[in-house]
Symmetry: C4
Subunit: 278 residues, 4 copies
């Protein structure tokens, strides 16, 4: 087999998902990712890490070797290696193997554990499977369409949390656990999101009244993002239902009762003959 044919064959297996071999590669990759994550998690449990220290370290080396080979193969078979290396997944793939090498050469660097966790982001690659694409697109598009409303919502929550946190700081004060405004804002976030740890709670009557107001506000304000996303999803789904293209200008987004294209005015196909891709 000539080199460029091998390259293309590898490309189809490693980057593609349509062939049987491509799908098998994806599944093997998912298994490897989850196994390497399990090793990472088990390493953090003292009762397991102590007796199995060496076994876990060798497993870690094995997975790093595996992911290193995968990274090199991707670089090799990619039509544009530099474009892959600079892409989101290229960087994630590199970050997934780098920490182990760094820890090998600089044994004292314990903070590398954080970067190693980026390996979990490799899962996103597997989510790219074709059949799931369409639905996640609708979700993403809804979030994107609603991004201004969501921004306004988060700004409002930020302002409310700053105001309530500062007020409770003035009312309760350091004596009751509200030692600074940042800590009080932390309390306000814990309260307005209805998490309610209970590590810092108001002690005075006025503080409790303010806390009650914060809770009720947080409780009802939750309705706003839900309403926004639901309304956007509704709109997206309706738009999606009628993926009819104009035979004249090829643009989509027509209502189900449309007879003429809303963009160019050309006549659309009859409703029964419209091809709707699902």
């Amino acid at each position: 087999m000539p080199r460029h044919a091998l390259k293309h064959y590898l490309y189809i297996i490693i980057f593609g998902t349509h062939t049987k071999a491509g799908r098998a590669f994806d599944i093997a990759l998912i298994v490897a990712i989850f196994s390497s994550l399990a090793v990472l998690v088990l390493e953090s449990v003292p009762s397991i890490a102590s007796p199995w220290k060496m076994e876990l370290r060798y497993l870690e080396y094995a997975f790093t070797a595996l992911f290193s080979i995968e990274y090199l193969l991707r670089l090799y078979c990619s039509p544009k290696p530099s474009a892959y290396a600079k892409s989101f997944y290229g960087v994630v793939d590199l970050l997934a193997i780098l920490p182990t090498y760094l820890a090998f050469f600089f044994p004292g660097a314990s903070f590398m554990g954080v970067i190693r966790l980026l390996r979990v982001m490799r899962i996103f690659r597997v989510l790219k499977l074709v059949r799931y694409l369409q639905d996640s697109n609708i979700l993403l598009r809804s979030l994107l369409m609603a991004r201004r409303k969501i921004l306004i919502f988060f700004s409002t929550v930020g302002i409310l949390v700053t105001i309530f946190g500062s007020l409770i700081f003035v009312i309760e004060g350091p004596a009751n656990g509200f030692t600074s405004i940042p800590k009080s804002i932390y309390w306000a976030i814990v309260t307005i999101t209805t998490v309610g740890y209970g590590d810092i709670v108001p002690q005075t009557h006025l503080g409790k009244a303010l806390a009650s107001l914060t809770m009720l506000l947080g409780y009802s304000i939750l309705a706003v993002p839900t309403g926004i996303i639901t309304a956007e999803l509704n709109k997206e789904m309706n738009a999606h239902k009628t993926l009819v293209k104009c035979p004249n200008c090829s643009r989509a987004g027509h209502d189900s009762d449309a007879i003429h294209c809303k963009h160019c005015g050309g006549e659309l196909a009859e409703p029964d003959k419209r091809i709707v891709k699902q």
Copy 2:
């Protein structure tokens, strides 16, 4: 009465819900299930279980005998006993009586209490009542239609929880209660779902900042499944409405209580005879 007539008669009473006797049997079964559950619950309360030990045990034996008879009768009158025995409800019915027999022959096996709890699943059978069928179908169909979006949602939550749990483990460390990554992921789930027990809470400033981010994310991400299910329910309800066609002008979109076509005034088929594709 010949044997096959008796069999059919029993079948209609035990499996059917349309006759008066069938409905009476269902109600008696619900009462028996709830009573046996009450015995199970009371057995676990020390202040009640001590003085009433024998009474509760005899009641338990009585309910087991009752459910055993019911199981044998179902096996007897079912047209295909083996199919019933292998069905979901057949297995549940068997599991509801087995634990008591096993506990009788192997007195030391206290873990049987778990299996006995499967008796609660018998309640599902009673939910099969005809008048509730339609609405629960819409609910189930909405969940089924949205299963890909829900899967994507849960994968996203899983990835977020792993990332945030690992980060807080690195930031806070074992000294502040975050003794391992699994425990830290447990904290992340407690936080992102806005439950907030407060048994493990961040102590450092950076940890509190990360916790705030987790809360706000969990708070707003809740809007996504709600939006998905609402949008699906909306679609299902509209679909339900458009499945009846006028026999005169063939146009759809009639309400469920419509008698005449709203477009041409022609009479629609009677509600009971309308063909609604499920």
Copy 3:
């Protein structure tokens, strides 16, 4: 003024809300209800109740006298006194004054405080104001339309809570605070509703895993009732928007694009000439 005219005049003031005097009476009643509630609340605060004991008691007597007069006047001017006395509000009005009289004659009966709280239900009467009627009707009708779905939802939550509560009882046991199944079910409710007091928390690894599952389930199951109510509200609002009555059979509920009445087939008024009450 003759007696029957006085009766009718009183009736319009006390039961009506359309006249100026009627509205003034309603506002005075609201003020009286809130003031009497304030007295009730203040009586429970030790630091206030001790120095102001007699003043609060006299205020309580004054409000009881006031509500007694109101009750007698309602009985007097009502066209059918017995119908009023048996109605929901008649019973609430009686219960609002009874406790004070009972406490006066049986001074030791402290449990009367509970019944006195029924006074708060008098607030519902004021909610009957005409302008708020229409909207609360839509809310109630949506809940009513969705009652089967809501029942199915609550049954599901009940079954889940029983199963998870029993499982955690078997997993954690009395040593970790889960002393009985009822207490474990209480924990399951605290967790599935995302309240999360933190008074009982799982200590074992398996218990924490089960708790995580309960939280995620509770977190996502919340989307179901929201979806149900939103979809019903949407439907109700759409139905409401087209409160067009058929000129032939006087029935409403037509879609905005209907030309013929869906009930009798009679022709509807042209869309532009339809009178829609808002």
Copy 4:
């Protein structure tokens, strides 16, 4: 440059957002507001405030001087200075500088810290940016349209909280931490909003049963405001869509990006010239 031209020029920069200078001024103002807030927050953290005491105070004086100049300039260039001074933002602007002056002349008045927090409200001014106007208008209009339903919802929550709080006070009593009805109502709010601090929890069996009911109620009642706001947002979005009429066939229902009528193919008015009733 003559005085009135200078005035108008300043007006366009300070109050306007369409010119490059106007937008630069807005961004500088946002930066100044956030910086002054940071100073405020850092002052409250003991570990930072002690060593940097003088630096923070001088920064505070600098920001107050800056905002004072801005306030005077706004007064100067406003076409109607008195109208600006009495407007919401005029009062906010004044309150943002007053506390520092008051603290300067009355050094002992520590409560001024609260009023200084009003500076955070200046952020609202910046939200007035043109491109965010339309979406926040839809949000506000939805809330406004639903205000009666929201009022009914909050009244219901208020009544429920009073009833449950009083009941738990009678059931649990001062011995279990429920020392007064206001404190018990605070507990009911903490529970019904699913915050669940855990600082006060029921100890008796009956109290736990009541708490469970409160939680389930709070859990499901949350669906109501969400449903209301979603339904209103849906309506608002649809209304927005139906306000444009085709000049040829006079039919509505066009998307915001439509150029041709979907019914007859006639050209629609240009998007900017469409008359959309607000």
